[in-house]
């Protein structure tokens, strides 16, 4: 299974970025290979309009099974994310990537 996180940094101890559209990084944990890979999304800072769909498109390309984030997608991003057979869990905005994964495993996060 592949689990994606919106994050403010590139490692396990990085805080989750509560924003989906304007997340700085998307981390992808491949459970089978036990690998964490990083997609840099920082260019979104300079994007005035449509950050939500743009980042959602990136997630479409990454194509994870699960996304763990904070606030959840806005309306436009949600339209794009509906095209992906991916479950979204929200409410991890105060956690780190590592603790968010644990929270997900313990069924402590809310499905969007």
């Amino acid at each position: 299974m592949k689990i994606a996180f919106t994050a403010k940094g590139t490692g396990w101890d990085s805080p989750i970025d509560p924003r989906l559209g304007r997340t700085e990084y998307i981390l992808l944990y491949d459970e089978d290979k036990d690998e964490l890979s990083v997609t840099d999304n920082r260019e979104i800072e300079g994007v005035a309009h449509g950050a939500g769909p743009k980042t959602a498109q990136l997630l479409f390309d990454i194509n994870p099974d699960v996304l763990i984030t904070g606030n959840g997608p806005g309306d436009n991003a949600a339209v794009v994310l509906k095209q992906i057979p991916m479950k979204i869990y929200v409410g991890a905005g105060e956690l780190t990537v590592k603790t968010a994964l644990e929270a997900y495993k313990n069924n402590e996060l809310k499905e969007f």
Binding site: H49, P53, F60, N76
Partner: protein
């Protein structure tokens, strides 16, 4: 002559000032007032007129034709607003993000994004005494103010000749809708209040007007509160402070009842007279 009333900061008195100035000048001149704050127009609360015209306003957005699309992805490369997006084997259009620029549609090699119209709002025209008043209103859920502002400006230009003094009440701030509302103005009146917030946002508005190379003057509202920093700043920068509207509880009471101020407050009327004289000296307009 086209005159836009703008402000950096919200709540500085654009609407109070525009509606009073418009009604005051309409006693002598041909005046049309247009509320361009299409997201929350409120001039109509103070201009009590009879509706003479109403029309729906439309904007053009692309619609994807999957039968002819070659999925080249050109459209999403072109769109500055991420309003068109290729996802796998489909192209999605986000009408709320679309600015109606036609780029994706015109440059689609397969002509797979023909433009079609959607309703974005309504325009209403009123007659109040001698004043013509126009109010455009964005529909709930519509996010783009600029296309409606642009079409409202076109409507006014088409329907009112150069004998009219055209007053435009702009939205607050310094964003795209304000730029659209000011870019064709012959003169911009920036209204502010003599407070640190007022000065801070006035500076942003001045910076914007300088970038647009607009002639502008300043009107200070609620004169008497705060401090002298706005006046000192304008003096240092060589900016004309055209008038100082008094701070007066009576004005707030009139406002709260949706009434005009100048018929009741002589000092307010006197300041409007100064402003009117200045505008007419710029315009050389005959009564």
């Amino acid at each position: 002559m086209k005159l836009t009333i703008a402000s950096g900061k919200g709540g500085t008195g654009k609407t109070t000032f525009s509606t009073n100035l418009a009604m005051y000048l309409a006693e002598q001149y041909k005046v049309v007032l247009t509320d361009l704050d299409v997201e929350e127009p409120n001039s109509g609360l103070f201009v009590h007129g009879r509706q003479t015209h109403q029309q729906d306003m439309f904007k053009m957005i692309p619609e994807w034709d999957k039968n002819v699309c070659t999925l080249c992805g050109n459209c999403q490369q072109l769109c500055s607003y991420h309003a068109v997006m290729k996802l796998g084997s489909q192209v999605m259009v986000f009408p709320e993000l679309c600015h109606g620029c036609y780029a994706c549609s015109e440059l689609c090699p397969a002509h797979a994004l023909p433009m079609h119209q959607i309703k974005m709002g309504e325009l209403r025209q009123y007659r109040a005494g001698n004043l013509d008043f126009i109010d455009s209103r964005l529909d709930v859920g519509q996010e783009q103010a600029v296309p409606l502002i642009a079409q409202t400006l076109d409507y006014v230009e088409r329907n009112f000749d150069t004998a009219y003094l055209k007053l435009y009440d702009a939205p607050p701030g310094t964003t795209c809708p304000v730029i659209k509302a000011t870019q064709d103005a012959d003169l911009v009146i920036l209204i502010t209040e003599p407070t640190p917030f007022g000065l801070h946002d006035l500076k942003l508005a001045i910076e914007t007007m300088r970038e647009l190379e607009k002639d502008f003057v300043v009107v200070v509202n609620r004169f008497g509160i705060g401090n002298d920093d706005v006046l000192r700043y304008c003096e240092k920068e060589g900016i004309i402070v055209l008038a100082k509207l008094p701070n007066d509880r009576h004005i707030a009471e009139l406002y709260s009842r949706g009434e005009l101020v100048y018929p009741h407050i002589p000092e307010f009327a006197e300041q409007l007279r100064l402003i009117g004289d200045f505008i007419m000296s710029q315009q050389g307009m005959q009564s």
